[in-house]
């Protein structure tokens, strides 16, 4: 089976499970440098992004808060928050997870790690320059593309390196079936540089004119979610859920159908952000239809994950990875169905320009993607550093703080957004009254920010303790402990 393994050459009688374990440990070890570099920077930017987000949230209820300096004003802090969490936290965590998954799924040790390390350096440099640029007042005022023009080429270099690397890894994979996660990852690693380059060419390098800029803007911004974060998040879920509970996914057919239908429909979705805007009607209609068609990939994923999990929900008690991942998977279903409903023009009339959209965005990027990434990191990091997480209690605190935080945030923004939308829709009500409806819910959102920040501080400490190797050495290359033992000591 594996003729080149050193162990089998020394002792041909080596048991196949030992060989498999050694192969896996070797692959994991090969990913250590680049993956930890991306994870470490992700955790750093997560803390920066949380503080920026918290500050912009409280500025919504206290407009005069800390506005004596230009770089502390809402117009700079808010885009800085968005770009730091998108590119700094979410993308870095996603890239780290993607690199590790690619190596495992190709079944070969990670190659060209210098290429990836330089990509990580460029990536972080680009974000640092970009954020400082925004804070200095150089924001481009194009949502999701606020980084000034001198920062984006740096990011693009990093990105291109990773895309090239993904192709090389795929080219040199071990023969065998391509697992669904790998389809998602390859697609994400190729789609993103294309989207990013296209949007930058059309909006910055040689800007197109007029309202068409809006179309390009939302084509890009929506595709970042659908063709970059979604595939990475789902790749992680399709690997973690079966692997943690030790059960293959319910239907491989559905998973493949989900992938190709996502590839077909998603890139059309962006124009639903422009319902009611100055665009040809066919553009909006096509986008609304494609958004409704997203029902297919979303429901296939939801059915698949639920059926894989069924009868195994008690595993949520003993696996941190699964707890975060399943939360993320549920949020994915919820946020996608919510997004589909928001693409229906009559619903959009109510929710557009309200906090409802902000809640939706956070359910997607936090409830779905960030939780998915936490789950993946809880699985991956111990396998890279060879130590167990130092404290189960801290993991539980992390989970309950961020889970409560994100539910409070999304819940309050959703209710507040609906009230705000109803008031905006009422010709007899003043504009001011719509804000009066939203304000108490914005207070709640501000409080949820503290919960999230606290959760992130717990996670960051866990991560640092892990790098300092303060926990217990992992026993054996594969398992933490027998599952029966897990069950008896399980506590929520």
């Amino acid at each position: 089976m594996k003729p080149h393994s050193l162990l089998s050459s020394i002792n041909p009688a080596t048991e196949p499970d030992t060989l498999a374990a050694h192969e896996r440990v070797e692959i994991d070890a090969s990913t250590r440098g680049p993956v930890l570099l991306f994870f470490g920077s992700a955790v750093f930017w997560l803390l920066v992004g949380s503080v920026l987000g918290l500050l912009s949230a409280w500025k919504m209820t206290h407009p005069g808060l800390l506005d004596s300096m230009g770089f502390l004003t809402f117009g700079r802090i808010r885009p800085a928050h968005l770009n730091v969490v998108i590119y700094g936290w979410a993308s870095s965590a996603g890239i780290g997870t993607g690199l590790w998954l690619m190596a495992r799924l190709c079944r070969v040790p990670l190659m060209h790690s210098k290429l990836l390390v330089s990509a990580a350096v460029f990536w972080n440099l680009g974000i640092l320059v970009g954020v400082l640029g925004i804070l200095a007042g150089d924001s481009r005022s194009i949502e999701w593309l606020e980084f000034p023009g001198y920062a984006t080429p740096i990011l693009f270099v990093a990105y291109a390196c990773i895309g090239v690397w993904a192709v090389i890894m795929f080219r040199f994979r071990k023969p065998g079936h391509i697992y669904v996660s790998q389809w998602y990852l390859l697609a994400a690693f190729l789609w993103f540089p294309w989207m990013y380059a296209t949007a930058n060419i059309m909006l910055v390098w040689q800007p197109i004119q007029g309202s068409a800029q809006g179309a390009v803007n939302w084509w890009f911004a929506h595709n970042v979610l659908g063709l970059w974060f979604t595939p990475i998040g789902l790749a992680s879920a399709y690997y973690m859920i079966p692997k943690v509970i030790g059960r293959p996914i319910h239907s491989y057919y559905l998973s493949i159908l989900g992938f190709w239908s996502l590839a077909l429909f998603y890139s059309w979705n962006g124009m639903h952000h422009l319902i009611g805007g100055p665009f040809p009607a066919w553009m909006i209609s096509a986008s609304v239809v494609a958004s409704i068609m997203m029902f297919i990939p979303v429901v296939t994923v939801a059915i698949n994950h639920h059926m894989t999990m069924s009868d195994h929900f008690d595993a949520l008690k003993w696996s941190p990875t699964l707890r975060f991942t399943v939360f993320g998977a549920m949020a994915y279903t919820l946020v996608s169905l919510q997004g589909i409903s928001m693409a229906i023009p009559s619903v959009n009339t109510l929710t557009h320009f309200t906090d409802y959209t902000v809640g939706h965005a956070h359910l997607g990027l936090y409830g779905f993607f960030s939780m998915m990434m936490f789950g993946a990191m809880y699985y991956i990091v111990p396998r890279l550093v060879g130590w167990e997480w130092p404290s189960a209690t801290m993991i539980r605190w992390h989970f309950w703080l961020v889970a409560t935080g994100v539910l409070l945030m999304v819940g309050s923004l959703t209710i507040g957004g609906i009230l705000q939308g109803l008031a905006l829709y009422d010709p007899t009500a003043s504009f001011r009254s719509s804000l009066d409806y939203a304000t108490p819910f914005r207070w709640l959102r501000g409080i949820s920010g503290f919960l999230l920040l606290a959760g992130h501080l717990v996670f960051a400490s866990l991560f640092v303790l892990m790098l300092l190797k303060t926990g217990r050495r992992r026993e054996g290359p594969a398992l933490f402990a027998a599952p029966a033992e897990n069950r008896s000591e399980a506590a929520v």
Binding site: S255, S319, L322, G471, A478, P483
Partner: protein, 60 residues
């Protein structure tokens, strides 16, 4: 404008082409067949089906 336009059109054709090629290759290569075996590729002799691989760290 023209340079950017040609770059974009080229990228568009290349990417759509590669997506179609990937799909075509997947069919030819048998990636869309044998769907019972496919989900088992992430398991091996050491971490077989039925063996959970994650848990909270033990206390102490």
């Amino acid at each position: 404008m023209t340079a950017g336009l040609f770059l974009l059109l080229g990228g568009l054709i290349f990417l759509s082409g590669s997506a179609l090629a990937a799909f075509w290759w997947a069919i030819k290569d048998g990636q869309l067949r044998n769907l019972q075996e496919a989900p088992l590729t992430i398991f091996d002799d050491d971490e077989p089906v039925g063996a959970p691989t994650d848990r909270f760290p033990s206390r102490k």
